[in-house]
């Protein structure tokens, strides 16, 4: 297999354990003497805590009870800021904010106990919408409810607008979306000798958890050990929240001096943990008579919820993607993340980009409609090319060939013929099902935004043992996306050995270096590159010692070389630290420069059928064409696209978080509906491969890209089918009915 293993469908490393039911997720683990934990939460959107009462009928002295007073260190979960308490103290700023923690060996008793704790709150006015927050009549955060406010300006948008033939204005909205990983959040905390703690749990970023726990527990990082257990999906939802639940379990375990398992049930997970930021985007676009973009002005606002968490970072990615893969010399962008009284919104696949890409793609359709231009043609006239600059002034160094991707997507979907056929069918009287097609063109930056990767300074390492076994050591987690497999593939490819000789160490802060968080489509491109360099160094060392020939080797030679090296020096270890690709510069003050090392590019086409009796929309076909550099594992890569598309279908048509007074009113899988096997469309995935010079074996990022395109393509198709002007998601049947029939008078 050796060097050719990249690009092949090798078996998933952990696949067999998963299909056999042997993979141990956190809730499958039981430790001797272990207690269970639960969380008592606030029952108001905002207010002052007057009292916490412990009701009758519970043997309270048998329970471990933890409140803010039991926090030995600082009472906040450190992320970008320190505004979010680990346990509410005196005030609550959103529904379901943690106030009291309980632990006991008997889960049933514990559940009863939770119900008997009464948190009495004197309500304060809450802020429930982006508009309320911006109006600032009630201030819930800082001076003005604003977590972050970014501006970008290039060229002369005012002058360009005044000279333009058409100016098109639109406002677009997206709703909150629940990650809905099928494994809910959970951890087990274990007290270690001398006050240390170890935490085992479902998470994306073990080092984030370590960084948050130290200050809360008053411990140096080396006394906090964090181990990722097999994780049943994350999608961003297990980026920052595990720090919170891990801190809670750790506080209980420290007080109990016993292991404590804290696993959320579904309702609690939906109510209390983060979701995709709701957004509102205003566009004003000036075009010439041929539809060329002269000026783009964008005002992008996201609802961050009650605490800052990661919102500024989500905002910056969203803002940078807000003008799409189009060339425009005159831009003015403003992005704000604002505070409301909702539980904090957080990372979810795409990280702000699905929101702003939905807006810009819908807006371009509106521009096309106003100009009487075909949406395909409008896009063709404006795509970015090598040498052009993006909204933040980044020079495009690769040739995106968006035209080629679009042509491929149109061909595969038979877009043009379908569009005509749909129109004809709509004109036939008596048709109750209307069909339409729509497309979206988009790009997604791989890795952290701006200088993020430089600040992270990630490290990965490699260890070769005497039997020629190779261990990749990185904190990048396998959450279903295939980390263990692709990192092993990249390493095997670079070492020129069989994939089976390489294993990826389980992420454990005691054993692996900090290769950064598992987010931002960075694992393959950024961490993959690190492990590739580690492998290259290992080969060099073995060659320099005269143990391997310079011109290639087989597995037996490699194994023998490792054996001799280890006998002479002990295990062979190499490591690599992140280095930015040459010429990459980012100016965070002016929000200008190279926002990402590389972009992945895509065009998606959706075909829908709308039942005009029930206003239900079905996606009948979805064609996803993308260029992601090289697909390291085509089967896993296709699986990433298909999974992302299905989530995008949910974002567009099914998944609506219903808020009532700041609380999620539909926190169950019965009421919050994600696509089933019967709702998800056939998804036809095509990769156009164009190896990227600075990615491992030519790979770029992939994980988030497929989340960006489905919603705008699908809503464009519904618009094509119905003629309604549609500018928000999710679009449930009742929303479409309102758009088509006007507000229905209640009887």
């Amino acid at each position: 297999m050796g060097p050719t293993c990249v690009g092949q469908g090798v078996p998933r490393k952990e696949g067999e354990a998963k299909v056999a039911g042997r993979a141990a997720y956190v809730d499958d683990l039981r430790l001797p003497g272990m207690l269970h934990g639960v969380t008592v939460r606030s029952t108001a959107a905002r207010g002052r805590i007057l009292a916490v009462g412990f009701g009758d009928g519970i043997p309270w002295d048998e329970l471990v009870v933890v409140t803010a007073r039991d926090v030995p260190g600082v009472n906040h979960v450190t992320l970008l800021d320190t505004d979010q308490p680990c346990l509410a103290d005196g005030v609550v700023n959103h529904w379901d904010e943690p106030v009291v923690l309980l632990a006991h060996a008997d889960r049933h008793l514990l559940e009863e106990a939770r119900r008997r704790v009464h948190v009495e709150v004197e309500p304060l006015p809450a802020v429930l919408t982006i508009e309320d927050s911006l109006e600032c009549r009630t201030v819930v955060w800082g001076k003005d409810n604003v977590f972050a406010d970014y501006r970008v300006e290039r060229g002369d948008p005012d002058g360009a607008r005044r000279a333009a033939v058409h100016v098109v204005v639109g406002v677009y909205r997206t709703g909150a979306q629940e990650q809905l990983y099928i494994e809910t959040q959970g951890v087990i905390a274990v007290p270690e000798p001398e006050g240390g703690i170890s935490v085992h749990g479902s998470m994306q970023c073990p080092y984030y958890v370590q960084k948050a726990l130290g200050p809360i527990l008053g411990l140096p990082p080396e006394r906090v050990r964090v181990v990722q257990t097999v994780t049943g999906g994350g999608f961003g939802g297990k980026e920052e929240y595990p720090s919170m639940i891990a801190a809670h379990a750790a506080l209980l375990a420290r007080k109990a001096r016993r292991p404590v398992k804290l696993v959320y049930d579904r309702e609690e997970d939906i109510q209390a943990t983060t979701k995709r930021h709701p957004s509102r985007t205003w566009h004003r676009t000036a075009v010439d008579a041929e539809g060329r973009l002269l000026a783009m002005e964008v005002d992008f606002v996201i609802d961050g919820g009650a605490y800052k968490t990661l919102s500024p970072v989500v905002l910056s990615r969203g803002l940078i993607h807000s003008t799409g893969p189009y060339r425009c010399e005159n831009v003015r962008l403003r992005g704000r993340a604002v505070a409301t009284s909702a539980p904090p919104h957080g990372a979810f696949r795409g990280f702000g980009a699905p929101q702003s890409i939905f807006a810009v793609e819908r807006h371009l359709d509106r521009v096309a409609r106003d100009l009487g231009l075909d949406p395909v043609e409008l896009r063709r006239r404006n795509f970015l090319h090598r040498g052009d600059r993006t909204a933040v002034g980044q020079e495009v160094r690769e040739e995106p060939d968006m035209e080629g991707l679009m042509e491929k997507a149109l061909e595969e979907s038979d877009y043009r013929a379908r569009r005509v056929a749909c129109r004809r069918a709509r004109e036939r009287p008596g048709e109750t099902v209307r069909r339409g097609v729509g497309l979206a063109a988009f790009y997604h930056g791989s890795g952290f935004t701006g200088s993020g990767e430089v600040h992270l300074a990630s490290v990965a390492s490699l260890e070769c043992g005497p039997e020629g076994r190779v261990e990749v050591q990185a904190s990048s987690t396998e959450i279903g996306q295939g980390t263990s497999t692709i990192l092993a593939q990249i390493t095997a490819g670079a070492l020129g050995v069989d994939y089976r000789l390489v294993e990826v160490a389980p992420p454990d802060t005691d054993r692996v270096p900090d290769s950064g968080p598992t987010v931002a489509s960075r694992t393959c491109m950024v961490v993959g590159r690190l492990v590739e360099r580690c492998a290259g160094q290992a080969l060099e060392v073995l060659r320099a010692e005269g143990l391997l020939p310079g011109g290639g080797h087989d597995d037996a030679q490699f194994v023998e070389a490792c054996r001799v090296w280890c006998a002479r020096h002990g295990p062979l270890r190499t490591h690599a630290r992140y280095e930015p690709p040459p010429g990459i510069r980012w100016d965070p003050e002016r929000f200008q420069g190279d926002a990402y090392g590389a972009y992945s590019w895509a065009v998606y086409v959706a075909r829908v059928a709308v039942d005009t009796l029930t206003w239900e929309t079905r996606v009948e076909d979805l064609v996803a064409v993308q260029e992601v550099g090289r697909a390291v594992h085509p089967l896993l890569a296709a699986g990433q696209v298909e999974g992302g598309v299905a989530q995008g279908v949910g974002f567009a048509l099914y998944e609506k978080v219903v808020w009532r007074g700041g609380r999620v009113a539909n926190a169950r899988m019965t009421d919050y509906v994600m696509p089933t096997s019967e709702d998800a469309p056939p998804i036809r995935v095509h990769f156009v491969e164009r190896p990227y010079a600075h990615g491992p074996s030519g790979a770029k990022g992939l994980g988030e890209l497929p989340m960006d395109g489905p919603a705008p393509a699908i809503i464009a198709a519904v618009e094509d089918a119905t003629g309604a002007a549609l500018d928000s998601v999710p679009l449930l049947p009742e929303d479409l009915m309102v758009a088509m029939e006007g507000v229905i008078e209640s009887r």
Binding site: V19, E111, I182, G233, M669, A680
Partner: protein, 173 residues
């Protein structure tokens, strides 16, 4: 935890549950209204059966009860008295894994894996009823099992592959 503890305990004291699990006789003491899911996971240590929602929506807890696909989070223990239960741990095939499990591996039908045991059991129930299902039948049979990772494409493919393989090699065991 669902259902509420009171409901579990109010319905009477512990019983001795006798059942066949994956072909073996097992006995376990539990409350009659305890969930079969908890009996399997906690009473018998069979953690291959997962909990995703506790309310019958996700199918992660699916097992076969006397050959019928059920959501074990909705089945009270007492209903499994003297019954036969099949879980993911009981699946076997000539090469160790059952052909369905092999097909899930090869086709990319498992990503995070948390839905996989339930999916495999739902597929097994389908193939016993309908050894040669078309795509619509497969999609219908899996509609009670949610997967957030795969978009279902490769799961459907896995079931079709397994059906083809089983058709050439005899009925599913």
């Amino acid at each position: 935890m669902n259902p509420g503890s009171q409901a579990v305990r109010a319905a009477g004291g512990p019983i001795r549950l006798r059942l066949q699990v994956n072909g073996h006789r097992r006995e376990v003491d539990c409350f009659p209204m305890a969930r079969l899911l908890d009996v399997l996971r906690e009473g018998l240590g069979l953690t291959g059966t997962k909990e995703g929602c506790g309310e019958g929506e996700c199918g992660a807890c699916a097992v076969l009860l006397d050959g019928v696909l059920v959501q074990s989070c909705l089945v009270p223990a007492v209903q499994a008295q003297e019954a036969s239960v099949e879980t993911i741990e009981g699946l076997r095939g000539p090469g160790g894994l059952h052909p369905l499990q092999e097909a899930f591996l090869e086709a990319g039908g498992t990503q995070c894996g948390i839905c996989t045991p339930g999916m495999v059991l739902a597929a097994l129930a389908l193939l016993r009823e309908e050894p040669d299902p078309d795509e619509a039948a497969i999609r219908a049979a899996l509609a009670g099992n949610l997967c957030r990772c795969t978009g279902y494409v490769r799961i459907v493919d896995a079931v079709a592959r397994a059906a083809a393989r089983l058709a050439s090699g005899g009925p599913p065991s």
